[in-house]
């Protein structure tokens, strides 16, 4: 048996995503063990594998560590103001319906300051793909409590433990009318990539939640090193496609449910607008 490397002439081939990242800005700003880089890479792999013309894809982010993603993708991208990625993306899509618009942002950006935009974009069924990197806190500003911080978890603003209940994001998306909803962790990279690809190809409002560690702020205050968080993702999760959306709270003292929860058809905002307001 003889071995021949596919790489010709001993030349080292590029990283398979090299053509989609702004290599001159790498290493990126994300901390060691931060989950954003893996979720971002899964998103780029999904774009590549989808067969969609890359020149029609735009990435929109808000503010936060996760919001920095738009600055690293070598496609048209927009780093908007805090909480406003979805309205910006809505404008892009309505202005040029041929675009494939992907919103990549954090839990604070999309569900605290930007929460109303999220529910209304889902209700109107705007044809967007929204990917939320949920690290259970506001990473960028030093680890404050978020609308997604689990009950009793410690953050800078809840030193005795969070007295509030977090949002169940897939339930929120389902209730508001999203046509595609899935949740994975960064450890479940293949399933995540596959679902992002499906979400991008789906017409209508698609939402993918990605659980990823913020070891520097959330992890440190909850005694979780990044590898321990990944072990939690391995041991304390269960895959259940089409699970009841009310069973999807994030509570790692029980099993956290992952999978694809919604995949349905509903006419989009543009389709309804054309039918109702454009006179043929």
């Amino acid at each position: 048996m003889s071995l021949t490397a596919l790489a010709k002439n001993g030349a080292v081939p590029d990283h398979p995503l090299e053509d989609l990242i702004r290599s001159d800005r790498i290493p990126h700003i994300w901390c060691p063990g931060c989950g954003i880089g893996t979720a971002f890479a899964a998103c780029l792999s999904a774009m590549k594998a989808s067969g969609i013309d890359l020149q029609t894809i735009c990435m929109v982010s808000g503010i936060g560590c996760s919001g920095r993603a738009a600055g690293y993708v070598k496609l048209d991208s927009f780093h908007t103001t805090h909480g406003r990625a979805i309205p910006f993306a809505t404008g892009l899509k309505l202005g040029n319906p041929k675009l494939n618009v992907v919103v990549f942002s954090g839990d604070g950006d999309l569900f605290a300051i930007g929460g109303n935009h999220f529910i209304h974009a889902a209700r109107r069924n705007i044809d967007l793909t929204v990917i939320c990197l949920n690290n259970l806190n506001y990473g960028m500003t030093g680890g404050q409590v978020a609308a997604t911080t689990p009950f009793l978890a410690r953050t800078t603003t809840t030193p005795a433990g969070n007295p509030e209940a977090p949002f169940n994001l897939p339930l929120l998306a389902w209730a508001a009318g999203a046509t595609y909803v899935a949740r994975w962790t960064i450890l479940h990279t293949r399933e995540l990539t596959e679902c992002i690809q499906k979400a991008m190809k789906k017409s209508g409002f698609s939402f993918v939640e990605v659980l990823g560690p913020c070891p520097v702020n959330y992890g440190r205050r909850n005694k979780e090193k990044s590898l321990q968080t990944l072990k939690l993702y391995q041991e304390q999760t269960i895959i259940r496609n089409n699970a009841d959306p009310t069973d999807l709270e994030v509570d790692f003292s029980k099993k956290v449910v992952l999978g694809e929860f919604v995949d349905k058809e509903r006419s989009t905002c543009i389709e309804n607008y054309d039918k109702t307001c454009r006179l043929m």
Binding site: S2, A5, A7, H15, I26, H28, P32, G33, L187
Partner: protein
């Protein structure tokens, strides 16, 4: 290749083999690739990169099955595998 239980068609199946590439100066030493490589063939090197982290190195080159998991779990675009074609002779 080690098996826990040898598959019946092991003789006919061509297990792919990979070659791992590491862009050392991108690595931030999180250890994800090392921990989750299914063949357990990555380990921290004793070298320091430009930023002061220990990048991984391959300790069992011929055992890489080109599964790409190191590549897709790495948050830094720092490691990837490329298939080596195994041409059977005769």
């Amino acid at each position: 290749m080690d098996y826990w239980r040898k598959p019946l068609d092991a003789e006919e199946i061509n297990v792919s083999q990979g070659e791992v590439h590491i862009i050392e100066d991108r690595c931030k030493g999180c250890g994800y690739c090392i921990e989750f490589c299914p063949k357990d063939i990555l380990a921290f090197s004793i070298r320091f990169n430009k930023k002061g982290y220990h990048p991984p190195e391959v300790v069992g080159t011929e055992k890489c099955v080109n599964c790409h998991y190191c590549e897709i779990i790495c948050p830094e675009f720092a490691i990837y595998s490329v298939e080596i074609s195994t041409a059977k002779e005769g």
